[in-house]
Symmetry: C6
Subunit: 267 residues, 6 copies
Amino acid sequence: MSIDRDQYLIQDEPFYRESGGEVKLFEAAYAARLPVMIKGPTGCGKSRFVEYMAWKLGKPVVTVACNEDMTAADLVGRYLLDAQGTRWQDGPLTIAARIGAICYLDEVVEARQDTTVVIHPLTDYRRALPLDKKGEVLHAHEDFQLVISYNPGYQSLMKDLKQSTKQRFTALEFEYPESDTETEIVSRETGIDGAMARKLVDIGCRGRNLKGHGLDEGISTRLLVYAAHLIQHGVEPRQACRMALIQPITDDTDIRDNLESAFDLIF
Amino acid sequence: MSIDRDQYLIQDEPFYRESGGEVKLFEAAYAARLPVMIKGPTGCGKSRFVEYMAWKLGKPVVTVACNEDMTAADLVGRYLLDAQGTRWQDGPLTIAARIGAICYLDEVVEARQDTTVVIHPLTDYRRALPLDKKGEVLHAHEDFQLVISYNPGYQSLMKDLKQSTKQRFTALEFEYPESDTETEIVSRETGIDGAMARKLVDIGCRGRNLKGHGLDEGISTRLLVYAAHLIQHGVEPRQACRMALIQPITDDTDIRDNLESAFDLIF
Amino acid sequence: MSIDRDQYLIQDEPFYRESGGEVKLFEAAYAARLPVMIKGPTGCGKSRFVEYMAWKLGKPVVTVACNEDMTAADLVGRYLLDAQGTRWQDGPLTIAARIGAICYLDEVVEARQDTTVVIHPLTDYRRALPLDKKGEVLHAHEDFQLVISYNPGYQSLMKDLKQSTKQRFTALEFEYPESDTETEIVSRETGIDGAMARKLVDIGCRGRNLKGHGLDEGISTRLLVYAAHLIQHGVEPRQACRMALIQPITDDTDIRDNLESAFDLIF
Amino acid sequence: MSIDRDQYLIQDEPFYRESGGEVKLFEAAYAARLPVMIKGPTGCGKSRFVEYMAWKLGKPVVTVACNEDMTAADLVGRYLLDAQGTRWQDGPLTIAARIGAICYLDEVVEARQDTTVVIHPLTDYRRALPLDKKGEVLHAHEDFQLVISYNPGYQSLMKDLKQSTKQRFTALEFEYPESDTETEIVSRETGIDGAMARKLVDIGCRGRNLKGHGLDEGISTRLLVYAAHLIQHGVEPRQACRMALIQPITDDTDIRDNLESAFDLIF
Amino acid sequence: MSIDRDQYLIQDEPFYRESGGEVKLFEAAYAARLPVMIKGPTGCGKSRFVEYMAWKLGKPVVTVACNEDMTAADLVGRYLLDAQGTRWQDGPLTIAARIGAICYLDEVVEARQDTTVVIHPLTDYRRALPLDKKGEVLHAHEDFQLVISYNPGYQSLMKDLKQSTKQRFTALEFEYPESDTETEIVSRETGIDGAMARKLVDIGCRGRNLKGHGLDEGISTRLLVYAAHLIQHGVEPRQACRMALIQPITDDTDIRDNLESAFDLIF
Amino acid sequence: MSIDRDQYLIQDEPFYRESGGEVKLFEAAYAARLPVMIKGPTGCGKSRFVEYMAWKLGKPVVTVACNEDMTAADLVGRYLLDAQGTRWQDGPLTIAARIGAICYLDEVVEARQDTTVVIHPLTDYRRALPLDKKGEVLHAHEDFQLVISYNPGYQSLMKDLKQSTKQRFTALEFEYPESDTETEIVSRETGIDGAMARKLVDIGCRGRNLKGHGLDEGISTRLLVYAAHLIQHGVEPRQACRMALIQPITDDTDIRDNLESAFDLIF
């Protein structure tokens, strides 16, 4: 099977607003081919940053949404049955190592700790991936880089990366964007006017202050964009905020009242 | 395999009585192709609403009854053995993304938290579904939308959606219909006269007041319809209520007596 | 594969003695094609009632003994490998939906809660069964009905039906038969004379009074029939009662003494 | 596949010494084709009794050593891949039901509670085994009988038969044989002289008195036979008792000293 | 498949020094074909004794290193896919029963309790192995004998043999050899001179005294042989003892100091 | 399948700086073919040492990154389906035993305790690997040696090697290199000047002092090399240290402040 490298290239520049020098830092890490861990809360733009960097560097990106059922074979590859017997099929990690892509393991902490062990030989000086089942040792393409995302808010005794995995990565930390930046993002993504975008960002900030006081996570930039979309399609702003910012994330009456009361002040 | 898109179209208008503007809100969400979460108790009409909206929008709907054994492959697809070796077969999520259907994941909280991760790339700006095992990145049809149902009453430490999933959805909340609406529904669905339908709704309201006081869930509209059906087929009303409204949902003697005593008042 | 519908028909009238109008209630539920849940203790005749009703209605019955290892595929169907590649084989639930049978899920609480989710679309107004793996939506035959049995004595935190399942059924409750009825059953099933049958029923009643006082379940009608069979084959009555009524169900010395002492009174 | 019924016949009369009328009771149960549960401690002769009865009744016996990994398919059968595609292969329970054998499920409590559910339809008036995967309902041969063994000493919260299973069986209870009977057994099985056999039985009795006082189970008849065999092959009696009666069953020094001290008295 | 019996024969006499009559006891057990359990700590020579006895008796030996993932099929056999469809392949237990080998299940307590149930029918008077999946009852070759090893130090609530398994074996108990014997073994195995071998044995004895006082197991004969090998290859004795006797078995500083201090006394 | 032995040879001398005679000790262990356990913290150079020794000895090395999902078959081999039916494929352990390679099981404690049992017969005098599924006993090539790595910091009740495994290995203990050696390594690996390398090593030492006081593991040599790489690619030193030494390994604010304060002193 020849791999279609082009389908992993980002064709159009993703809209991305830099926050604090992360572009230059990522470029340095890429230049040294160091593995990078992107840390930050849900919906703050981690995945988009990776796609933006792939576009900027002109390299393909292979994204894997990690989950607990993911086996090492799902990353590395397996034999499939064919008319002529079995045929080896590369997994996404192997594909990325072959074609020189950035391999992006999204929400890596979801994967079983021990499944993540398979990435170890790719992260040290060997840059090799043993395909045990195939009897092949794959040496990674010189353009290959490994990137993982990681939400520290999920850290728990049961689910955390092992030290021996963490010590194989450099790390970049993300937060939700500053108000001005976020207002520009919401406006630019949905076409909503700046004043309304600013109001939505204000409600988002209010929600983020409740994190740890009844909310597990703050209101993400993504949800603000959702609310703006609904308004653009004719939904009344308060109703749009209820549908996009409150009802999806909490059933707690106090939290809901708290956020609803902000509507009176802001709209 | 060419997919028979027509079998997923709703041919006849499902009977649906709107409660509070939810049709317009759903239409706005669909116009922006935002993912929608339908929240509400058992048997309040969530599934029927989705089918109604699919009919109204003229789009096919692919329904998946989620369960704990459901793997990512059950949603996405897998290779099947064929006379010519293996053949890829799309799962329901992939089918919906290809043909531009509304994909409705019913009782999504039943699915393993980590299985639900596979829907993430379809819910953000990428609207893409990586078919890792096939080495293909599927970009969703422009008509595709993702809808999930969710019963907050089931929320527990063990089974709840992850924040990173919740923050990818707008939400609509459902309750049991108002008495007048529900009376019309019971009557219209079974042909029973309005007076008797009203009596059944009264018993239903009484049962819903017991929710949290011995009943895990109230008496659903569906069970009221069952009782009306039994009466229409000649069963004495009290006996019909026992068989449809009481015996299926509780073995608690006090609750049963409480509900039975309502019969004297109502019939 | 064409399905042999005839093998699911009950050829001879099963012996069944009605207790309290349950035949008429079941007929009404069947007329409206409402799903029915049969509740009651072990060995009180639930399965036989379902077979009797199938015979009376002249409909085939497909019985499934549920167990914890039963997967959704065991109910719905799967692909089997054939000389020409894979071939779809309907599961019992699918067969019943196709040929218009009563599908009887025996001891449904044994099945994993989440496996039972697959029956949901067959129990609401859709009466449809999505065969996801086959890409087919099966609309149930108009004669199809779903019946489940359920022993409330087993109810526990770990194993109970979900409310969203319960609220899809009407329910009929069974108890052990009245003494006269049970005497007739024991006599008729085994050919034993009525006086001896009455004595066995008396011992059975005594055992049932111990339920909750050291016995998890009472002595079932089935075990009384076993004892009568042994007596008919020449075993001394006390010995027959020990072998059929006491030794199978308890190792507790006090309970055994209590029941043994009844022999002196009764024989 | 035609089944070789003859291989399941017991060719030679197994040596069996009756203890308390169990032969006649079993014959009555067989005459009525009632399912039988054989209860008793490890190594008291349960399996041999079943083989003896099969020989006496001239019926084949199919024995299954139950274990926790045993699936329903291991009992009932499965499809195997063949040159012409898949081929159905009966499991031992199905074979026994087809050829009219006694099916003996040894140590049934080891099997998963829910696997044992598959035997239910064979134990009530239906005497049928639904082969769901084959789409066939097998009606048992008229000679078929189901026998299970059960060691009450193992009973625990985790592993016990369900009441709904227990209530489908008649039961026979076994203990270790009386001293005279056991002496005869040990002597007859090994050719050892009666005096030495009696001494071994005396040690066995002493060990059984320690059951519950440091020993989980008493010393079985089987181990006494082992000791006699060793003596017959030239091992000194005390050494033979150590090797066959003490070292296999306990590492507790007190228990060992207690049993060793019996040697001085007995030899 | 014809089995190559010769590969299971021990060609050269393994070096074995008897400790306390165990050779004669094993020979008696083999003469009566009694199953044997070899008990003793890690590295005391259990496996070598079995190989020695197999060589002495001139019988083949089939060794199985037991582990928790081992299924019954791994012992008994399974169907493999072939050009002509499926082909049965005997597992090691079946092979041993067919060719009349000693089947040695090493560290049997590692295997799942319930997997070990499959050996039961081979250990009683039946000496038969039902190959359920093949529909065959295999009667063991007259030379067949079953031997298991068992380390009582591992005994725990979770992992112990069931009484019903223990009561099917005679037992031989092993300890580390006496000092003189062990000195001879170390010297003979490595070519080291007797004085140095004696010093290593002295350190070993010191380590064994710490068992239960910070060491889970004593220093095995095998590790003494390792130390001697290192010395023979030019490593300084203290360094060899550190590398072979201390660093592999403990990270506890006190224990290490204790053992190191012995070096000053002994070398 | 003929195995490509050459791909397992280390072509170029890996850069390795000896710390304390470990090269000579390993050579002695290899000369006697003793199994070796390499103990030490994450990122201290264990894997590189093994590759260096393989290069120095001129032997191939087969590396296996162990993980919890690894089955015995992943180490030993399995049957694959082929055009001509099934074909045996050696696993990495079997390959190493056949071609006379050093088999290096990296992070062996990750593997299931019971999976590691398969290496036992290769570590004692037998040097044999029973391929049960193939019916073959493989005698290891005379050049074969088994090496495992082991991080004592991970030792826990759940995950530790069994004594019966530990007692089959000699052990070498590694620590992070001395400051001078580590400075040379950092400088040599990245081309950074010695003064800057020394500063990074000083920060690393500070971090290692926090081990057990808020850090699970110290800062590894690998991370120091990462920081040097970033500086070489134009990142400001403090920023490089944040990205490579702090953010990947801790989210604790106190620890972070402590390490940040070192920057003021050192840069």
